[in-house]
Symmetry: C3
Subunit: 304 residues, 3 copies
């Protein structure tokens, strides 16, 4: 059984201050950068094809999200993925709107075949990427999280990625040593889907947590003196450590998403409170996040 | 005489949850997406030339705004316009900064010639697009709304579009069965022009209201089970229905713009309150919006 | 000795309502536009290579920031710089992430060689641009402001630019008639670096203040009737006037940054309050900003 130490995962993130390269859509760049800053990471949105690979060598992890990708971002992503993969750095694929239109779907499938460390999407997107379901319409999810668990398991097995499905109740699936695991994370708020970028920025925070996966438990300030470049995920970070990191990112969002409701009078003020809450969340609060996990039976992991 | 039923227009929008494709400038993408979510629509900013046409076949309407258009957006817009027009879906042109510089002006004139369902701009832009006035400088309007009524009428006649002029007092002009109509909408707040994207996002909301134009009055939940693709505007939506939809979008903004003033201490907090207010506006409030309309005499519709 | 009249500098900005062309990164376009609106300027983010030069002929000043520059922005910047320089209009270079990766560094060095009116960056970036230090990692500064004073002085001497270094305490360096000057500006808040775009938008505001440099002191409404195009900086604006303008921009941010702390509960609400404060800052408050200045000895201006 996997045990999650979310408090330590958060301590490693805050101590490591990882530099996260986001090749992501222009709609959510500002929000994603603010989210990364709020949780203690450092964002960089460099996406020029001539620079992106070299920058991936400096960054501690890479997010790939083709929401508004034009050709330079597609080329930049290829370069950054190659460098990150070769260096054993984590990179996360957000398959936004996969299945909706052909060119985009083709590019996302190519990226998925490059063995991302994690894949994070909504139910429609995970289903479409696994080859089932009707695909998304933009960033709007029409399927339910649990209905796509078999698709998520299949994707985890075939790509080697930790697969996260976002929704009112998040699910994170991992295939570890021949066994399928799922963690469920409850939290958030009904206003969350009305704030553009809450899903996309969760992908960025997932990279940030993965950048600390496989490190020893951070004592106070223990990692502060570590150079940025050394804070990358250990290539040998175990699948369990990566699973924990992805769950920690989702728990951070779920807890902050609940805290943000206090005082929010609509989606505008909720968005502001959410950034405040992401910054304020403590290790104690994370340790009390509503997270459950279990192994899946063979039946659950097979699509009907 | 045209009668507006703004309550029903809003009910159709909220029930139909239309998917709006925005090929729009990167400055306002985030705000426009949040605005669309707040009013009950679903945004998608796909703007790759290889995808945009296909996506327009899925979306319920398209916004075209060349504020920061680079070549891929210009090509994407051509493709999306062709598909939307062929399918009888509404598309709205925001002629931002037309007249300021030559290349942009040329591209906007080409789009205007493609018979948009509606055109929404500030006074300077409407004047410039009609071939009068000095054009805008960025998104800043230097002319007055009523001074450009003749230009708006001319534009409505020649393009077939409903023409909306944004300002302290909005004007919406329609040429219906040989008669020129104008509606005036009062509301908003002095902080509104200090929030970037309030004009551009109004264009997006105009598409969202147009997506429901020509449908029957929605009873409770009546359209909830309608597939997204079927929620497009009826190609045969009457000019009156389109006129009503554009007025409804402006009334929604005007009412929310007034409500947002409560508690706003400057343009930053106003922006937040405005999103909250857009979400909170009720059909009752819309029905009481300060909207007036009348037909124009031949003299009013002719430029001096 | 240089004397700063920050009250008059602000009065000129508010009266002149300058139109600022920003060729800047997509992460901060929305925030930068809102910041410009809050201080009384008018933003325009046109960045198409076919338009940018022509628009620079209309604008009152230009900001160049290659944070996410793709090829069209790089070409647009070259065109806008050429026009602005030929017309004696101010333009500011933000060398974001210079030194981090080669292609970007090369492009920024080319721009720096085109004699910008001012250069604004964090300590790492100023050091890297001057050819010392390790360069930045994204927009995150790892060096201290005072440690790079010699680099800033060298840069001011070789480029002719006013050089501003942003940090917890800002420094602005000018080389005037053979003497090196430095001004220090205290203010801001610990949340400021957690809001993406506070640095980048300061570059935009620096252009806005420079657009009024060298004008006579504005009395009440004295410049209101001046056409926008005539509000450009006098080509003959003295180096002292440009120095004052850059200091005024930094003082405006420093004062607003302190005011914004009231009521801010985290980086999200701080960002909102900051926009409100930028708008609310008065000439009186600016006149009381914590600004000091002195001439540098020969020793201070030489790198160890």
């Amino acid at each position: 059984m996997v045990d999650f130490d979310l408090r330590s995962a958060n301590a490693r993130l805050r101590a490591g201050h990882p530099l996260i390269q986001c090749i992501t859509n222009t709609v959510v760049q500002q929000f994603s950068a603010n989210v990364l800053l709020a949780v203690g990471a450092s964002p960089a949105m460099l996406d020029h094809e001539a620079d992106a690979g070299q920058f991936a060598g400096i960054a501690n992890g890479v997010l790939i999200n083709f929401g508004t990708a034009s050709n330079h971002q597609l080329l930049a992503a290829d370069a950054a993925i190659d460098v990150a993969a070769a260096a054993g750095k984590p990179w996360v694929l957000d398959p936004v709107s996969v299945g909706a239109v052909d060119f985009r779907t083709s590019r996302i499938r190519r990226a998925a075949a490059d063995r991302p460390t994690a894949i994070r999407g909504n139910a429609s997107e995970i289903a479409a990427l696994a080859g089932v379901g009707l695909g998304g319409r933009g960033v709007d999810s029409t399927d339910e999280v649990d209905a796509v668990l078999p698709a998520a398991v299949q994707l985890a097995r075939t790509t080697g990625a930790i697969v996260a499905v976002s929704g009112p109740r998040d699910a994170v699936v991992a295939h570890i040593d021949g066994t399928d695991h799922v963690a469920h994370i409850d939290g958030g708020h009904e206003f969350m889907p009305l704030v553009i970028g809450t899903g996309c920025s969760l992908g960025a925070v997932t990279v940030a947590y993965l950048a600390g996966a496989g490190k020893g438990t951070a004592g106070p300030d223990s990692d502060v003196s570590v150079p940025a470049a050394a804070a990358s995920a250990d290539p040998g970070a175990t699948a369990s450590a990566r699973f924990e990191a992805v769950v920690a990112a989702h728990a951070h969002f779920a807890v902050a998403g609940e805290l943000a409701a206090a005082g929010a009078q609509g989606p505008g003020s909720y968005s502001v409170s959410f950034l405040d809450a992401l910054h304020a969340v403590t290790g104690d609060q994370l340790a009390q996040a509503r997270v459950s996990h279990r192994t899946l039976t063979a039946d659950e992991g097979v699509q009907a």
